[in-house]
Symmetry: C2
Subunit: 336 residues, 2 copies
């Protein structure tokens, strides 16, 4: 059931907002008759009181929420650093909420955010959002939202992404240029824009180089990394194993390293690999890992700057646009 | 200047809390005389109104705050996962606040927390807290606080630590047993319990094995890692360089790896290293890094469990105790 705010309630009753407010607070200044009318309408229209509404309208909570899947992932923890960088400078506090890539958690977090604690939201949505009503409800109430990395197309606001498709295509082509003919795709993300774009980039590169797409080379992993480890080992031990691997997710690359270690496969001699990865230690791995490095810090910084501009400048409005910050391919030993 | 809450104010005036409350709200039910008396006392005693006080007393915000230096550190991001694990199960929300190891930021965060948004706090304090009044103020108001890792001794509550001194001693002894005679200590933390305990453990191990403590082997780094990198290189290039290194901080170990790479020093042949470290990729580094692995996940889980027990069970109270969760020494190639 949808709810109304105090402005809508006042409009419906054709009385002033302050009269509604005082009636709901059982003020002695308001007649019992009016109080009864207001209470009945509030019930009928499902009015949801918001104790922090006035603070919110003035943007005075000086707090923004960052909703991300996890902080054990270097992309997100680095993006948060970028957000914090701007927030500290502008005197804003950052509250971090983790969804664990779980749609139900995301809904629960938005229920919490409904209480009006924040001036705005920066978020990377979960991989499988069944619906986005919870986001819509807050957005409709005027809470500005900026999406990054894992974006939601159906909102009129700024979305920050990297050039996933193009980078994935380039990374795959890089392996092809090194002589790889059977390139595995080690995915985790499911029915999701980021994952889909990277898969599409991988497929485009193969097609461009006349390499047939072999579905058996596409590992479709989950959040269960023990299982992902088994899936990768299974592929590496198959009768027709890959000679290269492209990981669209950092943790799949390290899982791949462990699998190769166990199977005594040498990277890059037996198999090459390149991965989307923001690990600070990519350079120190045995062998150093070739990476597609996302502009995580810049993305966080840009998201926070745009969101805060929308608070501060009356004229600045978050418009419906996609801003692309390019990723950088860094070739290291693992794909030589 | 210290402040009083409404209960203390009522006690001082010898009138009921609800009378004070209504007087402060300028209620028509209260005489002008009483209102004037209440206002004067409120000013005199520095009464701080707390709009969410009633919600807080009922522990109804169902939200806890986690205050940590950073999330780009695997120890803290893993501890947060442990906290979230318990919070999700118990239906609590977790708000994460980052201090960037800056005492001023910590004070600002506590000013925000004073508005009464959370039922309790789990925190690792900054390295250089000049004072702890901001923490005391909230603690005195009845907000339960559990400290972990970087604890604050002067509060009557549970503090979770690992056996820093003992683990540091064992790690140093491990290097001595491998034949190291000149062991560097690569510190970052400053005048701080965790850092001091680890330094003390290092010194105890040397003393036990009749190795003189050489201050020139103690690198005193800062948050400026470019500078730390220079300090380490300087030490490695000195006329009497170390043959082993103990890093009480993960990032000093990776900085050390980079320095060795640049100077073409081979680990462990030219120099051995062991580090406090929760990097998931410790095993995949070139060479695999020997680590003192802190029980980060368990620490987060225990902190959250104890804090939430203190909400739910009227009989459970956070008492003044230090709980030690042991770290684990994992020997790998870097110290062989």
């Amino acid at each position: 059931m949808s709810s109304v705010n105090i402005i809508e309630l006042a409009k419906y009753l054709n009385i002033s907002k302050s009269t509604v407010s005082r009636a709901l607070k059982d003020s002695y200044e308001i007649s019992e008759e009016t109080k009864a009318r207001v209470r009945a309408a509030a019930k009928e229209l499902n009015y949801q009181p918001n104790p922090y509404a006035s603070s919110l309208r003035k943007h005075s909570s000086k707090t923004i929420a960052v909703v991300v899947p996890e902080v054990l992932n270097n992309f997100f923890s680095t993006a948060i650093s970028g957000i914090e960088d701007v927030a500290l400078e502008k005197g804003y506090h950052v509250l971090i909420y983790l969804t664990h890539d779980n749609a139900e958690s995301e809904v629960a977090i938005f229920n919490l955010l409904k209480s009006g604690r924040v001036d705005g939201i920066i978020m990377a949505v979960t991989s499988n959002p069944d619906q986005t009503n919870h986001i819509k409800e807050l957005h409709d109430r005027g809470i500005p939202i900026v999406f990054f990395d894992r974006i939601c197309d159906n909102f009129d606001t700024v979305k920050l992404v990297t050039n996933d498709l193009e980078s994935a295509c380039k990374a795959t082509e890089h392996l092809i240029e090194k002589g790889c003919k059977r390139i595995a795709f080690l995915s985790v993300l499911k029915t999701f824009s980021v994952g889909n774009n990277r898969l599409e980039g991988y497929k485009q590169a193969l097609t461009k180089h006349n390499i047939p797409i072999d579905e058996s080379l596409i590992v479709r992993g989950s959040q269960d990394y023990d299982n992902n480890y088994q899936l990768i080992k299974q592929l590496l031990r198959s009768s027709n194993p890959p000679d290269g691997a492209f990981a669209p997710v950092e943790k799949m690359a390290t899982t791949f390293y462990y699998a190769c270690n166990e199977l005594k496969l040498k990277i890059p001699n037996d198999i090459r690999i390149i991965s989307f990865c923001n690990l600070e230690t990519a350079d120190l791995l045995q062998p150093p890992l070739s990476t597609v490095k996302q502009p995580a810090f810049e993305m966080g910084k840009t998201a926070a700057t745009l969101l805060m501009n929308s608070f501060e400048k009356k004229k600045y409005k978050l418009t419906n646009e996609i801003i692309v910050l390019p990723s950088q391919i860094i070739e290291r030993e693992s794909s030589r």
